[in-house]
Symmetry: C2
Subunit: 220 residues, 2 copies
């Protein structure tokens, strides 16, 4: 069996398990968002800021993916969220199987919204369906404005792109319009939101986007 | 054959080819540095800044690794460097085989120094020996100060860690000493340099480090 065969079998098996996850999430009526970015783009800070601002009646669970440490889970727990940490022990992405095992220990029936924070990696997580409703990709204004075309796969897959750290725009060279144009070329259906998870600017747009997705879910 | 068997066979084959690369580099008397970081930590900017500052008698080649586009190669070529682009087409790291193929088109005998800029990814490239003399890991002060313990493998492997974007320290919350302590715990032999590739602060230390490695190489 070649490397390609093995890779295809792994992805086929992942797709099968992702479908099972998707069915379980649909039965529970829970919205699931898969957050993907490089290390340090601000996934955990966005979660912290979101947990502080979400209406109280939205019941949230967080699945934290990381190579090592429970630091991110500690941070969202400090904001009152329930959740679970997946440590991949070197693995560069979450898989549908890891998520299924994590979910088995959570009461998803009582939740409205599950955030999955993927392992910090702009490449590998884009290939692995976890059964989520939407992939949300984060970029930071401190990372340079050439990233979409250099890492196209995740932009093909994402429903929403969040341009984070706009509070630092005065201190860096970053052409926001160029980044938005590149995303538009790669995936015209991918929405883009500009925000600062730390400072709070633009968080309203993100909360409105979540509210609209929750409303869609309720109507189904 | 299981996924683990296949993974082991791929790594064994990579190690064999890396050894061949290492022999070829040693015969040519060329120093090879493998730059590894997340997307946007400043690998290409560090190369640009280095190419502008290196003594004229140091003959440099650059091997640029990327998922897609030749943007990074265009940038270093604009600084007068000769080099070659490897596009992995989705692959999340360079391999010894890719480097061997890239090197076959380059006149390494006439070079003193080869920079390999790996694919932007803090996880996968750490496992793949390319035949380099040293792995250099970059972190940026805009990425949060919790990264070494969250991505330990590359710090175990690296000879040098570069903390880039120190010019942005006044605008972010980043505990440099904490990062240096974490690297020390993971790998006491890993040197740490603070610099701003864009602004130039600390570049002297990096150039001195390269000069010392070139001198070691000449003595061998």
């Amino acid at each position: 069996m070649t490397k390609v065969d093995v890779q295809k079998r792994i992805l086929d098996e992942n797709d099968r398990l992702a479908l099972e996850n998707r069915r379980a999430f649909a039965e529970a009526g829970v919205l699931v968002l898969n957050l993907i970015s490089s290390p340090g783009s601000g996934k955990t800070t966005l979660l912290e800021s979101t947990l502080e601002r979400l209406p109280e009646n939205v019941r949230v669970l967080v699945i934290e993916g990381d190579v090592s440490t429970e630091r991110d889970l500690d941070r969202v727990k400090a904001r009152g969220a329930h959740g679970v940490q997946i440590n991949t022990g070197g693995g560069c992405h979450l898989s549908a199987k890891m998520v299924a095992e994590a979910v088995s220990g959570l009461d998803i029936e009582s939740a409205d919204l599950i955030f999955i924070e993927n392992v910090g990696n702009l490449i590998c997580p884009s290939t692995y369906d976890l059964g989520e409703d939407a992939k949300v990709v984060l970029l930071a204004t401190t990372e340079g404005d050439d990233k979409p075309m250099k890492y196209p796969a995740i932009f093909h897959e994402a429903t929403l792109a969040v341009l984070n750290k706009i509070d630092l725009l005065p201190h860096v060279t970053y052409d926001v319009a160029k980044v938005e144009r590149e995303i538009e070329v790669l995936n015209p259906d991918c929405e883009v939101l500009r925000l600062s998870a730390l400072g709070g600017d633009g968080m309203d747009g993100w909360l409105d986007w979540i509210a609209a997705r929750l409303e869609e879910k309720r109507r189904k």
